[in-house]
Amino acid sequence: MNSYKPRIIVKLEIQSNHVVKPIYFEGLRRVGMPHEMAQKYFSDGADELIYIDIVASLYQRGIDYEQIKRASDNIYIPLTVGGGIRTVDDCHRLFDSGADKVCINTHALQSDSTLIDNAAQIFGSQAVVVNIEAKSRADTWRCYSDNGRIPSSKDLVDWVDEVEGRGAGEIILQSIDRDGSRKGFDFNLISKVIERSHIPVIIGSGAGNISHIIDVVKEFNPHGIALSSVLHYNKLKIPSIIESIRNALT
């Protein structure tokens, strides 16, 4: 009963009224509308959705709660929402708009990491996800903010340890070097995080074909896999991914 299987999570990157798909965290090519795409992936069998407003921090503007409400309408799977979260009050409002978990990066990474502690205490660790945008540098990785373009002073490993200590319940791990490229996952990056993390890690960035996904499942048994490009451009469909994984694991 309940043998291992990874959660299939779809990442929706939002800019204003559109779902977009950057490559290497640059570019804002439109791929659809938030509500339509959320519905589609829910119907296709996704386990969870991640909805990130990728420009709220960069443009220094507020969160569009109404759009989140519309996107979450008729969705009955967990919805993680992030982008521009600065205060606990933002989190309250997000839960009131359909979020099941909140996803934090820029503000905690660059300004005030106690946001993580405060959110975890009020909403519970299980509802607080930290988004890590990692870029390789020499033989390590640096954590970035504002949609993968402003480096922080935090080294990857230190930040992973820190967010866990502050009460984050989950990490979504993204690679700036791979995201949107469909060239495969960064195994070194994933290994670095999974080997030391005590909380679930959702790995993202790089899936381009079914082999990429099967290989990463076999190697790491990740808790979750975040997909965007490979689904948005119809390279793979969710039901076939789920089945291929099931076959690979038996």
Partner: protein, 402 residues
Amino acid sequence: MKKYGKYGLPLKVEFCSKCTSSNQRPNSAYEFKQTSSDKKEFVPVTSGVCKACEYVETKKAIDWAEREKELKELCDKHRKDDGRFDVLVPGSGGKDSIYVANELKNKYGMHPVLTTWAPNMQTSQGIQNFNAWLDMGFANYMVYQNKQVHRLLTKLAFEELCHPFQPFIIGQKNMAPKLASQLDIDLIMFGEHDAEFGVNMDRMNIPTMDLGFFTVDNNDISQIYLSGLPVTELIDKYGLSLSDLEAYLPLDREKFEGNNKEFHFYSYYKKWNFHDNYYYAVENSNFLPASKRLEGSYDKYASMDDKIDWLHFYTFYTKFGIGRATAASFQEIRAGVITRDEGIALVKRFDGEFPAQYLKDCLEYLDITEQKFYDITDESRPDHLWKKEHGEWKLRQPIWKA
């Protein structure tokens, strides 16, 4: 005594209602006629809209299928069936030159050869993307300047005009025509034409380059200025020879009017999109964006192969109040990717950021002190654009307060 005037800029600052540009943008000049006392022509904002945004509307009405047909005819005319090079594509390995070269080769069956005017100080991103360009399967005629001469001219251009990029622009504009005249290639294909920037709009429906950019009538060097100084002074006072200046001197118009060489703009034939070209480059080559946002802007993908770019954008900012974030945002607004409000937020946050990253490299390159750098850039700021507040320079009318 001021070495550069205040450009004849309109005293009333007007912003375009559609993008982040203003009426303080200079029209593209014939650089080798430029002196420090010049009054520039400016790109106006008419009825609240800048020329480049007007052109965006014009582009919507263009029959692009028809234009592509013209491109195919042009290619048919020049294509060498025996497989020899038949089109020269100048560029630096940025997203635009990757797009143009690759389409000509793979979509239109041409045999392009590339050419590059060596960057002043190539960045690591520049090296990566230059190699990515070549790795698509191209040969490249690389033109290296006499660096001693080039650095002197760059230094003088900075001192005389606060325009360090000028010698590079001049050399780059001259290079392809000069090379083409020596090769058995009649077609030269540039990227975007000036209409995309709202300048030289009288030529917006003309696919070819204005010969005035690299030719003069009667090759009389006494009429030519480089770095804002008469060539005669460069020879007499600075000891430069004609061979030193060869790369920067325009060609004789007569020579070009007679021959078969044709200088075209790809953006005339294919609907140009600044932002889409980034995707084209990353999806079709090993082109990579910068590792972090470019200083003075929010983007990671435009004008990043030469350390002088940083200085260029900064001097553009001090002279005209238009920085890298403004330039990137108005391009992305016109490309339909961000809204004007979003552009303004980005300009407010990043425009005019001090170019610390490569300042030291640039000072060494220009052989000037940091103090001299501040003196020149401070002096370049027009009074009607800038004021000093608590020792800091502030724009009198920033776009986010307009």
